[in-house]
Amino acid sequence: MSQESILSPRKGAFGAYGGRYVSELLVPALNELEEARRTIVRSSAFKKEFRGMLRDWAGRPTALTYAPNFSKLCNLHVYLKREDLLHGGAHKTNNVVGQGILAKRMGKTRIIAETGAGQHGVATAMIGARMGFETVVYMGARDVERQAPNVKRMQLCGCTVVPVTTGSQTLKDAINEALRDWTANLGNTHYLLGTVCGPDPFPRLVRDFHRVIGKEARAQWAESVGDLPRAVVACVGGGSNALGIFKAFVKDAGVDLVGVEPGGHGLESGAHGATLLRGTPGLLHGARTSVLQDEFGQILEPHSVAAGLDYPGVGPEHAYLRDTGRARYTSVTDDEAIEAFEILARTEGIIPAFEPAHAFAYLMKAVALGDYEAGAKILVNCSGRGDKDLDTYRKLYGHRLAGAGAKMGPLS
């Protein structure tokens, strides 16, 4: 088979991608949300509350940090947009603030969400606590294991974490469960989707709440660096942190937009999450997008050491940016990402999450690949901090902590 149909979405399309491929039962909820997006989100009252809460609660603006030592290793000038400093520890907070305010203004009393790395779950739990929602987060049982600290953080915020034991027990299954919950409870419940995936209007809604990343970075760059960056680089799981920083530069033809996908054990191994590089068009979680699937359309189990990138789909707008050539996508392996994770910590005193470590790993080989002239100035989205990944790191790579705990006592 595999001669997929030429299907082009009518609603919320990004070229041939996006749309609303959902059950009729969700249509009322999506219509309500789209209406809210057009009226509430565009209102100045909403914008004011959104901006205020991003500043006062979430801690925006986040810094733009030059990384002198890492730059030397890369033979580039690398500037980090520090979403790792955002409240909650990742860019995800931008989106939950936006959707939280929106849900409140829509009169919802309950929010639900899916989570992979747990970052979106933590962000949702936090906004749920702050805004007084009943909050339920669906999380693949395997992710519950490998992101234990985030589970505790969610629970502390009063959120119910539901381990999903079906399928591959990771993010895609958590989304399936969340969709089921939403279908059954759409009256009082808002589905606070965590990335630029899902049926229209989610990809646009989430993207727009993350635009602040790129907007800020662009202004900070102008102030402290000058001309435009040669490239803007971000890791791509669902694609929200990437779109959030890309959008401000889409119209600047001279600025490369580069998304780094999780190469897992290598693209040839099949154990990866490189949806844009190796996926084919398909319908997943309500959108037509690039999907990792077999010849019959069964969704494949992806693999990445970064739970937040371990997803067989991707935001439809990325598929569109890929096809039009405006953005370029590449991948690095688990091992490359972990090495970059270590190197950034050791050279800059910044411990990134495994997810953005993929972006850093790409930069370490970008000049050798001939992608940029030496000394080019690069903006990279450091989408989150690595605290959540320390347990996993210790389990999988702990032996690499040279001299760890080695007694280097005083003379005696």
Partner: protein, 271 residues
Amino acid sequence: MSRANLAAAFAASNQHVSPFLVLGDPTPEISFQLAKAAIELGATMLEVGIAFGDPSADGLAIQRANLRAMNAKATTPVAFSIMKRIHAAFPTIPMNLLVYGNLVHAAGFERFAREAVESGASSLLVPDLMFEEGEELRAVCKTVGLGHAELVGPLSEPKRIRKLAAAVDAYLYLVAFQGVTGARTGAADSIRELVHRTASGVEVPVCVGFGLSTREQIAAVFEAGARVAVVGSYLATAIEAGVNAGPLGDGAQVLAKFRAAFAPLVGAVAQ
């Protein structure tokens, strides 16, 4: 063309109890036996599904049925071959096919629809392809002579129900509960209300499913004007009980549990 089977069935009777079976659950062979058993018990229509790993419009009982079938390697071609076997054995029984969009999309709409027809399908319902995005598929169905069904739910507005009804040539599938599939007890009154409201506004036959598990519920939906009552999760649970009862063997346990669950429900049809 098998599509004619559906028209003939509706002409022959106003009340059809239709089991929903995931093709290949728990094995292709037993799956065929289950269809056969259902028809022998009095089913005058079948709803069959092709296993999909991410059936987000279904509940957990059906999800597990999907998984059993996938574990038994019931790919799309295998599913079609089971359908062919059923069709060969019961050439007049309508088979209504329910498939998630990505399986149809991966095969290519036209190719999929043709194979469905060749396998004896009377109609096609894609639960995650809402009406607005379904134009291409509807056109293809028309071309190849496959009946086409749409889903509506408790929250669908009357205007929208009429619009969707006007577009179908097989039936309108009414989801009895806002929520995913799953057998529920009670609530016959509210179902009756809902079915009546929906069926009375449209010309096409209305099929009711999602959550039916008792003879009373089925009688109620017929009384309210539905022409097909689909029983899914309840039977999936019976099959599961059979699977868990011991070694699968030739499926005797599975068939026994299935028969015990299904037989009383067929009796809901007014004789």
